[in-house]
């Protein structure tokens, strides 16, 4: 007879997995800086337009137009005393007299909203297809062929074409801004789920052979419960990593579309749109190019570092080293 009382009773509750992940994540300097930067940017563009004093959509007319247009950022006064600057307009105004900082904040709201929603859509599709393909053997072949076909599509040309073709129909149905938002989010989401689906399928295939799945099944767990209770929580970590990478690519794609003139309507600022509008005058007003460009780059860089740290933190082989 085995003696079970000899084992020492654990005095502390076992550390949860997410506690370990957080500990690992906290020591990844790049990831912490990236995460904090991203949170600050998100907070800035969400709260910023409420507390910032200038209305980004206000276009001055008459004499005001002449005094308020083409204002330079305040720091230009450091080396050029004759520059037209005003403390009320920290980053200056554009050629129509609209406040640059205000438009930058409002544009960031749109860019980040597009990035987040497109990422969620892509993750949903990718996870669904990956789970189904990995779990149900009969659907594996067809779904993976579908994934291969999507991977063979020329994404950027197709997005460009589709954004032109469906623009008017959706604008008529949902209004010019809402229509384009839905269109761009759907286009990016529908064309970027494939890597997630592949990773999730691979993980599900491996998990399906494990004993705990067999145990759950022998207890009479139904497929739906088995997936949601036992399989899905175990594939969460690759999904989270592809989520961060998904935000980065979605923001870049949206900006690229706006930059090429296939994005939001002209008076609706996004970072890519602001950059595109400023290119024509970049010789005289380089700041109008640099600020939106920096905003895109820093956001994407922060998200990429966040994803890098998350991947290290969620990988149990690296964790604890």
């Amino acid at each position: 007879m085995t003696d079970i009382t000899a084992q020492p009773m654990p005095t502390k509750p076992p550390r949860s997995q997410w506690r370990n992940v957080w500990d690992q994540f906290r020591h990844h300097r790049g990831a912490m800086i990236g995460g904090i930067t991203f949170l600050l940017i998100v907070a800035g563009v969400v709260i910023g337009p409420f507390i910032y004093w200038n209305d980004p959509k206000f276009v001055p007319t008459g004499r005001d137009f002449l005094t308020l247009r083409d204002m330079r950022p305040i720091y230009v006064a450091l080396w050029d005393p004759s520059a037209k600057v005003d403390w009320a307009y920290p980053l200056g105004t554009d050629n129509l007299g609209r406040d640059t900082l205000g438009r930058l904040l409002l544009g960031g709201r749109v860019s980040i909203a597009v990035g987040l929603t497109a990422m969620i859509l892509a993750l949903f599709l990718g996870t669904l297809i990956g789970l189904v393909a990995g779990y149900f053997k009969r659907l594996d072949g067809p779904l993976m062929r579908l994934t291969d076909l999507f991977l063979a599509l020329p994404i950027l040309p197709m997005i460009l074409v589709a954004s032109v073709l469906f623009r008017e129909a959706l604008s008529a149905a949902l209004g010019p801004e809402g229509g384009i938002f839905v269109l761009i989010v759907c286009l990016i989401g529908v064309t970027s789920w494939m890597p997630t689906a592949r990773i999730v399928r691979g993980d599900v295939l491996a998990l399906k052979e494990r004993e705990f799945v067999l145990a759950a099944r022998s207890l009479g767990t139904r497929n739906r419960k088995l997936i949601s209770r036992h399989i899905l929580p175990n594939v969460l970590s690759p999904i989270m990593v592809s989520a961060t990478l998904g935000i980065a690519t979605a923001i870049i794609t949206e900006s690229a579309l706006s930059f090429l003139g296939f994005g939001f309507p002209p008076d609706f600022p996004t970072w890519g749109k602001l950059l595109n509008d400023a290119v024509d005058r970049m010789v005289l007003y380089p700041e109008r190019v640099v600020w939106p460009g920096l905003a895109i780059s820093i956001t994407v860089l922060a998200v990429n570092y966040l994803g890098d740290g998350l991947r290290d933190a969620l990988d149990p082989r690296i964790r604890g080293r």
Binding site: L149, P154, I155, L260, M282, P286, V289, G293, S297, Y305
Partner: protein
């Protein structure tokens, strides 16, 4: 290996057909009317005839079949005619652009050299920079060089080409005045001065594209080298008394190159796609710029053909990558 290649080629055919169908159906939904520019005084029956002349009157499957025949049967014949001087395609209807009323493939053939020059040079430059960086940062893992390399490649991932391109224009052509900001495609290189001019105008677009390529490939190179540096055969090689240079640059490098070569092959079509933006920034009139103008002008045959060419590139280089992997790595046998 040969049977595998043939099998993959056969599988590629339905893939391409399916993709061409997807592209065709996508454009079929286009609400734009090619007759929109025609004056309102033109009577409707004449308009109807003009539509039929553009090939718009027939049902969708017939038009799809006609496009397939034109693209896969007549265009290759034109190419053969061009090379061997035969006249196989004499009098046959080719894919005609609605913008210029000239064959689409002729315009594509005019535009491809510019794209190939810029993209090809950028790819080669990017790889040549990326490989040494990847090798050295793996060899000295976590050194300051490795940290700097990681940061630079993160920046390369994160800074989109439409910002880095505009930034180098502001710095190098507006403020410093070193390079021209617009790519002049009419330049004929026939002497030293024009060669120098060509070089000057290529530097900036190549730099912008190469930054992205370097970022990706140096990461892969580093990861692949790290995988191999801890293997037993490396210890064996060192124990035999081989020099450090031989161990790293011959034993480890050759094994690490296997996945990197396939990544390089897989990246080629993506670079063509990314070049659309770079071409737009530097006003290179290559195929990316052709695609943008065609989309804006609602020139469906041109858009369809160009998108399909991009798809062919992707399928082709996927195939190349798979075959290369089998050739380079003797552990992998497909049959």
């Amino acid at each position: 290996m040969l049977t595998f290649t043939i099998r993959r080629l056969i599988v590629a055919v339905p893939t391409l057909l399916f993709i061409s169908l997807v592209i065709f159906l996508l454009l079929e939904l286009a609400p734009g009317d090619p007759m929109a520019q025609v004056p309102l005084t033109v009577p409707p029956e004449v308009k109807q005839k003009m539509r039929e002349a553009l090939g718009l009157g027939e049902p969708v499957p017939v038009r799809f079949w006609k496009w397939i025949v034109q693209f896969f049967w007549i265009e290759p014949q034109v190419l053969i005619d061009h090379i061997f001087g035969t006249n196989l395609a004499e009098g046959k209807l080719r894919v005609i652009s609605w913008q210029t009323r000239s064959p689409v493939m002729d315009i594509v053939a005019q535009r491809i050299p510019q794209t190939l020059w810029v993209v090809g040079t950028a790819y080669v430059v990017g790889i040549l920079i990326a490989l040494p960086i990847g090798i050295y940062s793996a060899y000295r893992q976590y050194s300051w060089f490795d940290q700097a390399g990681t940061f630079v490649s993160m920046v390369g991932f994160s800074v989109p080409p439409f910002f880095s391109g505009v930034l180098v224009i502001v710095i190098f052509s507006v403020n410093l005045g070193w390079f021209p900001s617009i790519y002049d495609t009419t330049l004929v290189v026939n002497d030293w001065a024009s060669f120098k001019q060509q070089l000057m105008q290529m530097i900036m677009p190549v730099m912008v594209l190469a930054l992205q390529i370097t970022a990706q490939i140096s990461r892969f190179m580093r990861a692949s080298m790290l995988d191999n540096l801890n293997q037993d055969y490396v210890r064996t090689a060192r124990a035999k008394g081989l020099g450090e240079r031989t161990v790293v640059l011959i034993h480890v490098l050759r094994n690490s190159m296997i996945p990197v070569v396939t990544v390089i092959a897989l990246g080629v079509p993506a670079i063509f796609g990314g070049a659309i933006i770079t071409e737009q920034v530097f006003k290179v009139n290559g195929i990316g710029q052709l695609l943008i103008t065609a989309i804006q002008a609602n020139d469906l045959p041109m858009v369809q053909t160009l998108t399909f060419i991009f798809a062919v590139l992707i399928v082709l280089f996927n195939l190349v990558a798979d075959v290369l992997y089998g050739i380079l790595d003797p552990r992998i046998r497909y049959d």
